[in-house]
């Protein structure tokens, strides 16, 4: 626990007043940062300095700060969430950086995610995809006993692998095409794997895939950058499964 060792870093941060502002990079210095600071705590420190000197603090989305809510969304040196394996920005710690480093911080960039301010983007397109069919149409109450449907462990586990998605949108941000295939594929796969979801599988994949296009997301070219960017390590096999479900739905 050596807190006496501190770092000074140069931050080059995207600043944009609002959706219509063209935006530009500004340079800031982060001082007295220890290896135990999380990336967002480092930004907190910079913001406190900015406020004290009468400048506008950097605006960014964040909430749970424990890697599960999916709110934080920054591209750090070109990598969504900073490029550490299966880590969100809020869990990225400064021990991954060296004293004197220059760090570029940008918002998610995709046509479907318009910038609201600085590092905050509008991700409501992801909600629209789910609204198009990312559910089972069960009613509250009046469902069968939980054990009436048997789901063997390997199937339940694989559905859980897909369900781990936190909806942060890093897959879209990392995709050179701004596609939402991994996000959509994960939800479709989760529900396609489980017996509960199979009744509506065809309609679901058709509607959700249309919603992707309507929301302005790009198409998949199998770069797999999404998988590299995903803080939950969602595998591109779920995109394959979605494609399979899609093909199946064409014949259904």
């Amino acid at each position: 626990m050596s807190d006496h060792k501190t770092m000074t870093l140069t931050l080059i941060v995207w600043r944009q007043k609002n959706a219509s502002d063209p935006g530009k990079f500004e340079t800031y210095t982060a001082k007295n940062i220890t290896e135990h600071h999380s990336f967002l705590e480092m930004l907190d420190c910079v913001n406190e300095d900015l406020i004290h000197t009468g400048k506008d603090p950097i605006v960014f989305d964040h909430d749970c700060r424990e890697g599960i809510c999916g709110m934080c969304s920054q591209v750090i040196n070109g990598a969504p969430h900073g490029g550490q394996d299966r880590t969100t920005v809020c869990q990225l710690h400064m021990r991954k950086f060296k004293d004197g480093d220059t760090i570029y911080i940008e918002p998610w960039r995709a046509r479907a995610f318009p910038i609201i301010r600085d590092l905050i983007v509008d991700r409501s397109a992801l909600d629209k995809i789910i609204q198009a069919g990312g559910y089972t149409s069960c009613h509250t109450g009046g469902v069968a006993d939980g054990n009436a449907i048997l789901i063997p462990k390997p199937v339940a586990d694989e559905a859980m692998d897909a369900a781990e998605c936190v909806g942060c949108g890093a897959c879209v941000a990392g995709c050179p095409n701004g596609a939402a295939m991994l996000f959509t594929g994960a939800k479709i796969s989760q529900l396609a794997l489980l017996p509960q979801g199979q009744a509506e599988a065809s309609a679901r994949v058709r509607n959700m895939s249309d919603a992707m296009t309507e929301c302005g997301f790009g198409n998949c070219t199998n770069h797999y950058e999404c998988m590299a960017a995903c803080p939950k390590g969602i595998n591109v096999k779920f995109i394959a499964r979605m494609n399979r479900e899609f093909l199946k739905a064409q014949f259904a």
Partner: protein, 225 residues
């Protein structure tokens, strides 16, 4: 129809037409290899066999291929234009973690291949590039089209050989991404087989590259005369 309009649908059409062309490339290569003499009468006899197929078969086959190429090219361009719009503003720092040179440049390798195929068709199929060695107008002693003579004459030219070998490098790049992409896009993949498919796809692409490049190179090096 969703297959023609949706993102996944068009990708599936890309995959199927692409893979059909890979199959064609494999058959074409097997045909080419007759130049090394495993078929009595060599490549000239092979050409003769092909030409003696009933005309509707040949026309049908060629039309089919043309349709595949057109669908592949049409959707390829359409999807690429859409994808360029998917991220209107690029990042200041470009960091790619999984994408490859091949996967990033499919549209360019594809474009080069189209250009090459046109040249190749004019060169060896319609034989208008060097009419003085055209196989159809210069039959060999058995009366078969003298493909061997045409090919050897062409590839003794360093420049032509370079075009063909270069095109095969491009083909390798295109297929090293394309073949595994086919399996992913059709959904015939998962985390266990995906690494294998990727390797196998690259190997097939490499095999096609070596096979195709063998003819011009062996001729250029005067191994094949």
């Amino acid at each position: 129809m969703q297959l023609l309009k949706s993102s996944i649908g068009r990708k599936i059409l890309m995959a199927i037409t692409g893979q059909a062309m890979v199959l064609f490339a494999v058959i074409h290569l097997l045909g080419n290899s007759s130049i090394f003499g495993w078929l009595p009468g060599g490549i000239n006899a092979y050409a003769h066999h092909l030409h003696s197929l009933p005309a509707p078969v040949i026309i049908g086959f060629r039309l089919g291929l043309l349709v595949f190429v057109c669908v592949h090219v049409w959707f390829g361009i359409q999807l690429t234009i859409e994808n360029r719009g998917g991220r209107p503003q690029q990042y200041a720092v470009k960091t790619l973690q999984k994408a490859t040179f091949a996967s990033e440049n499919m549209i360019w390798t594809g474009g080069l291949l189209v250009a090459f195929i046109l040249y190749h068709l004019l060169h060896f199929t319609f034989q208008v590039v060097s009419p003085e060695t055209a196989a159809l107008s210069h039959p060999d002693s058995l009366g078969n089209p003298n493909v061997l003579g045409m090919v050897v004459a062409a590839f003794q030219n360093m420049f032509v050989t370079l075009i063909y070998a270069g095109a095969m490098v491009v083909l390798f790049l295109h297929l090293s991404h394309g073949i595994q992409s086919f399996f992913q896009t059709l959904g015939w993949s998962n985390d266990r087989v995906q690494p294998f498919i990727t390797k196998a796809g690259t190997l097939v692409a490499l095999g096609l590259f070596l096979g195709y490049a063998a003819v011009p190179l062996t001729i250029l090096l005067r191994i094949l005369k």
